[in-house]
Symmetry: D2
Subunit: 354 residues, 4 copies
């Protein structure tokens, strides 16, 4: 494992789905900061299950700070360590998975890489549950960034054919009050929910794309060649389970564009400030922020746990078998991943500020 | 700048478009390896200009090793340092760019970040020329990987609407003899060339997507959460100028897929070896290789240097101006970037092997 | 703070003297290892207070593993996280220190660096208490090293004028059963204890040198120039509070030696194996292990907390004041630091093995 | 090899004694700085051989910058790469060493670690010659530090029994004009030279201790636990060949001190600024600078190359042999190492400033 991210703000995520606790150590966080624990908990709740179109499992993600704060609740310069205790964990029935790894899960690679040590209960260290510690660190990072005038906001951009293209690419505004279903355009949101309902009915799941915008970033952040903004963002975002793609600005659509369409022409705005007319570069040139909003998209594959019968191989008998996964899972991991993407982006950006 | 990549195989790329030399230091390379300099030079030539649909500039990218080899030409365990001298550099006419930064180039961010120090001659440190040192390191890495049974091959997947989908996603074969135009399907290749010709005629440029396949990788490479295979690949690939997107396996197309379609079902092949029926995960689960070929795509934006008039702002007068960029540039940076993507991937993979 | 050590085995120490818990995250530890928790606890006890010539404070350093183990208690490849809860912490009376920083403590630098956030209760993050997490990680590392035939042993080498030079520099043996007072020669140990008693009586403290030996290390460990064995050892050892010097082999005594005395001549031993006659190089040449025992010494300054009156400056009034530190402290921090030095060395060595 | 040092200012040293060139890449250096190449060359000359009591070998260490500067000679933010060409290298006669490794040299470990690849010509990558690139990077770093009011100065503190204790530990002054023989007290300098002459006459060598002082450093530099000032300094200093010990402030002498003697009492100076009466902590508490001068010492072992006959083992016949090393070597490596220690310290300090 290398559960460490960051150069100046170093976060280490620990825990497994069924370990006693999961959590994060945050090293390099500035001293003297008052963490708003209430706001943090609200942020955590956006990821927690139990909402619309998410798993009905109960997980109260209560954050406990065990170190890093002084007697007045200010960060003291020492590493901040926070845990979420794993309660009501039922590890009884993973024997079947140990024999028959689930398709497109990490069961097989974990068993082959970690041997007898492999902890595949609930997905072990590969569980989506490990995104909660990312939200702890990211939630705190967002509080600091806010003080610097930097805001981070994400929404569901696409599920199936339904696309929410209501984000402006050039404005420095982010819609603050995300609806309960985290997409902005009511019409496309409704179509997305149809996709989800249909997947749930079929015992199936569906993929999605999340779009994220970061505003208020000054010019000059990012250290090319290999520590540019995109390299930093991609490195942390691919740490989120189920992520299969990352693109910035116009992303993969560039293949279909001419330079004359894609180039962001340089102009003056009303206040005589240099801006670009379009934002196909997504706020970054040569790995360095150019002052326009940072805009990127992340692709999440469909939840691999589905009720439909699937082929697998019994590792003991070395025979093919038909596997049926019971339990109720998120029909689309991306729904709960919206705050996770924000958190990851906030960690990456704050790391570059420090 | 942070021109360093790698954990065990550490490469540092140095140079600017018009510095005396560009090059790379490779630290952590195994001792006792004989570098095939002829094969390396052939690999370098695939990136060099002067081929079909590339800039007619002459750059003979001759590699000189100044350290790291012993008296018998074997790597000695010390850092390998190699340079390519910059000859025939004409820096005369960049005064205009200093006043009027080119749209979607790094001129503006560099001038704002580096101030008086900024070296914008020929794009300075942001020039595509800096991909040559990546090819030196990657070319050597590919030689070592070959000895381990690992092969890396890329091709142009898409330009405009033309798509070359001739790569098999599940076979462990890579077409070895790439045609002179680096795409495999003659029909789509011909359409891609039409796009290029049309862009050249219009004084315009065009974007593209490169697809890359890595075969022969054993199960278990990659250290999640943040040093998984995708994080490692993305970090280095976004170091290549003009890259705007990275996706693995089914990538962004997952948004449009059901879990039952997207999951790679686990089966036995003819030799009773565990494989997957499809390869939508692109050879990676949970950041760890699963033994199937690693398959990823990289999006390259259109060359920002175009002849068509564009808007910019004169930094002295703070007035908008119309900019026309002279000279002949690559109509599509991706053509010469095919070996660069291979090189970057090889560095990332070898780094994980060491 | 940068509380992270290691390249492959990455440990992050967290906590303050009076935070709810202190502990460590260990990332990169091999999977499938059974940790002997009983043996670990015994190792922890060697550092715990309450023994001869140590502070009579009660701290039961009970280790709790919250993540990283699977259902069978084997390491699972995920980060290992362990805590020690801080119980019975009395933070009442640090107001005086906040006004008048203690000489040769970290109070002053912490208050100036961390401002209002500074946590100086019990020394905060600078407390010797933070060596307990080092012992958790190091104790586990020693268990793995033992399996590889590598042993680590330390003892008190010097207090005042009393020197215990009973360690052989060339033999691959380490005395296993350290006496209760951690020095080997009864005669010098008795003199050391006289020094301690005299310091206690005077309300004073005394410094010391710890010597450490690592046996069974194969030839070839260490990556010069800057990741040689000494650089790695020094980096972690200077993380232990109160350390003021590190030397390997003949160390500072080389200034007084001729090359002909100091050189370790190369000979064959009884089994025709290449060894050196002496071990002035301390088992390392050019940063790389040479197969002889690694031998190094670490200097610990006298406990800065003493009962004698000392000068300080009142930060509010900006007047000089006379400070008297109450409470009972270790008369010599080195006594309890013997296992800490072993632990730190074990972490550094295992990191190089992985 | 891991020839990389630094977190923000990353330097990578490359080259072997007999490679075509040696040099350094400096990544992360601030943009817009004018390097004074003349002053740098003067600094390099202090390390070059040919002076009093050094080897009469001719090595003109001429620095060539191949990248990192713009057209006006200002640093441009891209990595600075500089080389020194190796001229007049005679590699003829190392066959004997390949058979019979020299005692206390790196020949044996290199041959065992690097196998056929080992480059032992002139000591290969372990040669003292590789300290020249450290001086390039350090010389530049000193120029930047000077602008920040930070100065670095070293001298020979001890050879044999002769000690130069003329450095004040508490004053923020460094003697600027070091005499040709780099020690300050004429009397002890004369005794040191007697030691050197006697070693030369005997075909022997002698060890030494260098003392270094850094003034003008503000309070608060250093990131404990493991990136404190001492950890950073030690890591780079042990990268210098022949270094066997590092101590800060009172160093190993603390073993012989009471807390009441060793503690640096806190007082007000004439300008009502908080200082300490003594400087036994060497300017650092808890890994963090306290505003007093940083003071440390480094032990250099005697040059291992001596003319006197020594025992070694013929690796082919596996018989013991008597080895005589011809050629003229530095009788004491420390003499030329004085600027190297300054350079290494400057790199470490500037890295912490950036």
């Amino acid at each position: 494992m290398s559960s460490l991210y960051g150069e100046n703000l170093k976060i280490t995520v620990f825990g497994q789905s069924h370990s006693q606790a999961i959590g994060v150590v945050i090293d390099g966080f500035p001293a003297g900061v008052k963490i708003d624990e209430l706001e943090l908990q609200k942020f955590m709740d956006r990821r927690a299950p139990g909402r619309l179109y998410t798993t009905p499992r109960k997980e109260k993600d209560e954050v406990k700070f065990l170190s890093g704060l002084n007697e007045n609740g200010l960060t003291c310069g020492a590493p901040i360590m926070a845990i979420i205790e794993n309660t009501n964990v039922k590890s009884k029935d993973y024997d079947n998975i140990k024999l028959c790894p689930r398709p497109s899960h990490s069961d097989l690679v974990s068993m082959l890489k970690h041997g007898e040590g492999a902890d595949i209960r609930g997905g072990g260290q590969f569980s989506g549950r490990l995104t909660a510690p990312i939200c702890i660190a990211g939630g705190i990072a967002m509080q600091v960034l806010k003080g610097l005038g930097v805001n981070v906001g994400a929404h569901i951009y696409k599920i199936g054919k339904a696309v929410d293209d209501s984000y402006s690419t050039t404005s420095q505004e982010i819609p603050i009050n995300l609806p309960d279903f985290p997409s902005l355009n009511p019409e496309s949101a409704s179509k997305m929910q149809d996709e989800l309902l249909s997947a749930i009915e079929d015992g199936d799941s569906v993929g999605a794309v999340i779009e994220c915008k970061i505003t208020g970033v000054h010019v000059g952040l990012g250290e090319p060649m290999f520590d540019g903004v995109e390299s930093r963002l991609a490195k942390i975002l691919f740490g989120i389970p189920a992520v299969k793609g990352f693109e910035i600005g116009a992303g993969f659509s560039v293949a279909d564009k001419k330079g004359s369409e894609n180039n962001d022409q340089i102009v003056l705005d009303n206040e005589n400030k240099i801006v670009t007319e379009t934002n196909n570069d997504g706020g970054v040139n040569g790995g360095i922020t150019n002052g326009m909003p940072i805009l990127f998209k992340v692709a999440f594959k469909p939840t691999p746990s589905i009720s439909k019968p699937q082929k697998s191989v019994n590792l003991k008998t070395m025979q093919e078998e038909v596997l049926e996964i019971k339990g109720r899972h998120d029909p689309c991991v991306a729904i709960r991943a919206v705050p996770v993407v924000e958190a990851a982006a906030a960690i990456a950006i704050l790391d570059m500020y420090l």
